[in-house]
């Protein structure tokens, strides 16, 4: 298994860690180094008395280091990994020292236990796992349903109050007004609704056009409330969307076991949001044959690495399984059948109209969609009065935004000729994430 420097750096939680890691990627810093076919290890002199012991299990990859840092991978692990990628042949092939062998054995035992469990469940005829937190246990489920109902009932009263008083009045409300409702919804186990209420509050603070932005969010919240009231009468895929809108999560293991979609999937773009407590990474895939879009979501606590090691601009043969939805987008990788390799553009919408039609269709099926994948096959970037837009062959325009991000880079890559652009469309702006120009992919 070989990793390129970019893939390794992509594992790192933040830029300062990347720099620190690079600084340690020289043999000078590692008085002891070794490897075998499964693992890489080394001893690094830090500021303490004893050197730190760092090791990497190449099969995943997984890291372990005796330094006090809580980040994973720490700068020692990163430096060791980069050094191995660059100068692997200079590592001595040796027998594993005891501290490496121990760790690997522990890992093996753990994964064996996990596999045994899975096999046992499979032989039970696919019965749901006996987990304490399973939402399928009837007692628990009805508890939650009751709690959410109560919370949404309060939300409905709150929304009614909002429109009775009027938006102009709402704009002058203190932060508490919104925060209390959001906190109540968290308690009621509806975190998705809580997030939307918080976004409502920041929309009132934004400049020009705020009334429309606020109103459309109010509308979607109300729709969620009403949909939940009738949830039992809705078809299952729509129910899944309502639950997702409320913020209920499904574990990957709980996804339907029937066949996923196998295709050559192109990684079209990736967006990472680093919040205070939580980091979220959206990785967008596009099936070459099926022309389907898929969204992979990865989460990590702040400071921890994001697990996805898919690089935009590459494609791989894989099987994806989709989360239930009336307009399926979110997916998980069930199996990989090849290594990712660099690839060319994967088709996409020939016109802006085609994209907007697809968006309208998706919205009709799932009104709570927030970002939509937009792969535009042939557009030219143009700058009009300081604002960036893209133009298709029919002269139709789509604004890039919301911030001035990457416009000049896209223009440089295009040179006035059409390029394939991938971005996230939110109904008002296209956030560019990647460009294919002259056969090369560039991340924006």
């Amino acid at each position: 298994m070989s990793f390129s420097p970019e893939q390794i750096i992509a594992l790192v939680p933040d830029a300062p860690s990347a720099r620190a890691g690079r600084a340690l990627a020289t043999a000078r810093k590692w008085p002891a180094l070794g490897c075998d076919e499964r693992a890489v290890w080394g001893e690094c002199q830090g500021s303490g008395k004893e050197p730190y012991r760092t090791q990497i299990d190449l099969t995943e990859p997984a890291f372990r280091c005796t330094c006090p840092s809580r980040k994973l991978p720490c700068k020692h692990a990163l430096g060791l990994f980069l050094l191995f990628a660059a100068e692997g042949q200079s590592f001595e092939r040796r027998d594993r020292p005891a501290w490496v062998a121990e760790w690997l054995e522990k890992r093996d035992r753990r994964s064996q236990r996990a596999r045994k469990k899975e096999a046992a469940e499979a032989s039970n005829g696919g019965a749901p796992p006996k987990r304490k937190r399973a939402a399928t246990k009837p007692g628990r489920a009805s508890d939650r349903h009751a709690r959410v109902s109560a919370g949404l009932a309060e939300l409905e009263l709150w929304l009614r109050d909002l429109v009775r008083r009027g938006l102009a009045d709402a704009q002058s409300q203190p932060a508490r007004y919104w925060e209390q409702m959001a906190a109540r919804l968290i308690d009621a186990q509806a975190p998705g609704a809580a997030r939307r209420v918080r976004e409502l509050s920041s929309a009132t603070a934004s400049a020009g056009g705020w009334a429309e932005a606020v109103l459309s969010r109010v509308g979607l919240l109300y729709l969620l409330v009403e949909a939940f009231k009738r949830i039992d009468t809705l078809p299952e895929p729509v129910r899944a969307d309502v639950r997702a809108g409320l913020g209920w999560t499904i574990k990957e293991e709980e996804l339907p076991a029937d066949a996923g979609v196998r295709d050559r999937w192109v990684v079209a773009g990736q967006f990472t949001y680093e919040g205070e407590k939580l980091s979220i990474q959206r990785t967008w895939l596009r099936g070459e044959t099926s022309a389907r879009d898929a969204l992979l979501l990865d989460f990590a606590a702040a400071g921890q690495p994001l697990k996805s090691n898919l690089l935009p601009g590459t494609s791989l043969d894989a099987e994806l399984v989709f989360y239930p939805s009336n307009s399926p987008l979110r997916a998980a990788v069930r199996a990989r059948h090849s290594q990712p390799e660099p690839c060319g553009p994967a088709g996409g919408h020939a016109t802006v109209e085609s994209l907007l039609d697809a968006y309208a269709e998706a919205l009709a099926r799932n009104p709570w969609i927030e970002v939509f994948p937009a792969l535009l096959g042939e557009v030219v970037p143009v700058r009009r009065e300081g604002v960036w837009i893209v133009k298709d062959s029919g002269g139709r325009l789509l604004p890039l935004g919301p911030r001035l991000r990457g416009g000049w880079e896209i223009l440089a890559l295009s040179g006035g000729s059409p390029v394939t652009l991938f971005g996230e469309w939110d109904g008002r702006h296209l956030l560019p994430l990647g460009v294919w120009a002259e056969g090369r992919y560039s991340r924006i």
Binding site: L220, E226, V382, G394, G395, L397, G415
Partner: protein, 532 residues
């Protein structure tokens, strides 16, 4: 008013104050809205909001315009550099190892490659702020770069065309580069061009334009330069302009100004060899220096104090200036003595310090290599140099060719002529030596690289972990790193002492990481993609 505006209006005021009434409509939306229960005001509005806003969002159509897009760029002839080199560039543009960027760009230009398109905007922004990068960027931007720059006013310097109108209509940058290129090929035409608009130019522009005259300077330029010099009446009002003109005139030994300076100043000094004691130089100081200056029309001497500090007194400063305008080789010729002997004699005499400082300025002004070497290596003048501001050193060596300076420094580091105790925290690399090294901004020769790095390693080994390198030296390490020969990187990184003071560790680590990066980045430029 549209349905949406209607809804917006009621929502803004509040259903408490106004009811939502929608005109009947047969559209899809109209029919859906009709289904809402009008008796429940809030519910009806909320429902209307949900329906109408989704309707708008889904029904969004793209705007069009028929404005023609900019013309597409021609295909580039220069090949793009490989992906690894692109990654190095991305790191430098991101802030790491910024000091290596000029060298990297120059190497890319020599290799006949261009930068990847996606880095052009960041590169242009950087070169807009840092002027010295501009000519380097022009070499490696390719046609795509020129095309891109034409679309952003901030990057105008990259898309400027030097045409016949440039002198009249262009900005200062373009006009300067036009004048520079003219002086290199047809100095007379350059002079005529400048003359044509001389009277209407700003003073600071005039100074810059005059400075281009150093190229292709000849006696033909004398009349024009003399115009810019003051005599009793007339002449340019800006001091820096006529000083620049004066400097240029003095580079022409047959110009009237140069001859006047020689005639009037040389009799002021005389070399004496008394029966007892060493040789010394006596100064025939005029009583009224102001009158002397006016009489001899050597205002250039009186009105530009080279240094403002020092306890030299009025006459001392005047003497310094007077001597600074005379090519130091003259004294050697006049008295048939070597620079070392002249210096020695000067320092023995009454006006020693002023004379020494004057010789330093003169050596720099006239680029006298022998004098520069003597001044650097002689203990007593070295002492003066170390005390001075680094600008003095910069002026001293500004006209010396790099190879000569290289040789001088190597001699110095090999032991030089410095007696007296060296400070073990700097070894041979005292402040003067460090300033001299930093004046060599191109890549150092192998020999110099080894000598300097050897000196630093030696110093570290002497002081071990108990003392730290002197600040001026540890601070300069970073700059040394971007100048040592990058091909010797492996050799220069080896054999550093493990034991060193905490304060010295970071600068040394910085040094080593910079040369490692330079080696990797410069090698990556020429490697084939497959090899990487």
């Amino acid at each position: 008013m549209t349905t949406w505006q209607n809804i917006l209006g009621v929502a803004a005021i509040g259903t408490g104050r106004q009811e939502l009434t929608l005109p009947p409509s047969d559209s899809l939306l109209g029919r859906a809205l009709k289904g809402l229960d009008a008796s429940d005001r809030e519910g009806a509005l909320l429902g209307a909001v949900a329906l109408a806003s989704l309707h708008r969002q889904a029904g969004l159509r793209a705007a069009t315009d028929n404005l023609p897009p900019p013309e597409a760029c021609d295909a580039d002839q220069l090949p793009r550099c490989n992906a690894a080199a692109g990654r190095h560039l991305a790191r430098m543009l991101g802030g790491e190892f910024k000091e290596v960027l000029p060298e990297w760009l120059a190497a890319l230009g020599r290799a006949g490659l261009r930068v990847p398109e996606e880095h052009l905007p960041a590169l242009f922004d950087r070169a807009t702020k840092t002027r010295v990068l501009r000519p380097l960027v022009l070499e490696v931007m390719g046609k795509r770069g020129r095309w891109l720059a034409a679309q952003n006013e901030a990057w105008g310097w990259a898309s400027a065309d030097l045409g016949p109108d440039t002198w009249e209509t262009g900005g200062i940058e373009e006009r300067l580069s036009l004048l520079r290129s003219l002086r290199a090929t047809d100095p007379r035409a350059g002079r005529k061009l400048l003359l044509s608009t001389w009277k209407s130019e700003y003073a600071k522009d005039r100074e810059a334009f005059l400075q281009t005259f150093i190229v292709g300077l000849s006696d033909e330029d004398e009349p024009f330069l003399q115009e810019a010099m003051p005599y009793m009446f007339g002449g340019d009002r800006s001091v820096s302009v006529w000083l620049t003109a004066g400097e240029l005139l003095l580079q022409l030994p047959s110009s009237r100004l140069a001859r006047r300076v020689l005639e009037q100043v040389s009799p002021l000094l005389s070399y004496q060899e008394p029966a007892q004691g060493g040789a010394l130089i006596e100064v025939n100081m005029p009583d009224d220096i102001k009158a002397w200056t006016f009489q001899n029309r050597l205002h250039i001497v009186a009105w530009y104090p080279v240094t403002n500090d020092l306890n030299l007194g009025e006459k001392g400063k005047w003497l310094l200036d007077a001597v600074s305008w005379v090519p130091p080789a003259l004294w050697c010729r006049q008295w048939s003595k070597s620079p070392a002997e002249v210096l020695d004699a000067a320092l023995n005499g009454e006006w020693g310090e002023a004379l020494a400082r004057g010789f330093i300025e003169a050596a720099g002004r006239y680029g006298d290599e022998e004098w520069v070497e003597t001044l650097v290596l002689e203990e007593r003048t070295r002492h003066v140099l170390t005390k001075s501001v680094f600008r003095v050193i910069a002026r001293l060596v500004s006209k010396i060719p790099a190879e000569r300076l290289d040789a001088i420094i190597i001699k110095d580091l090999a032991g030089g002529k410095r007696e007296g105790r060296l400070d073990e925290r700097e070894g041979w690399l005292d402040e003067a030596a460090v300033h001299l090294l930093l004046e060599l901004s191109q890549e150092w020769s192998d020999e110099l690289s080894r000598a300097v790095v050897g000196a630093v390693k030696h110093t570290l080994k002497e002081i071990r972990g108990t003392k730290a390198l002197l600040w001026h030296l540890s601070d300069a390490l970073r700059q040394f790193a971007s100048r040592v020969s990058h091909e010797l990187a492996d050799e220069l990184s080896a054999d550093w002492p493990q034991e060193m003071h905490e304060m010295s560790r970071k600068p040394v680590e910085g040094f080593l990481s910079i040369i490692a990066f330079r080696r990797d980045a410069l090698r990556a430029i020429v490697k084939e993609e497959a090899e990487l």
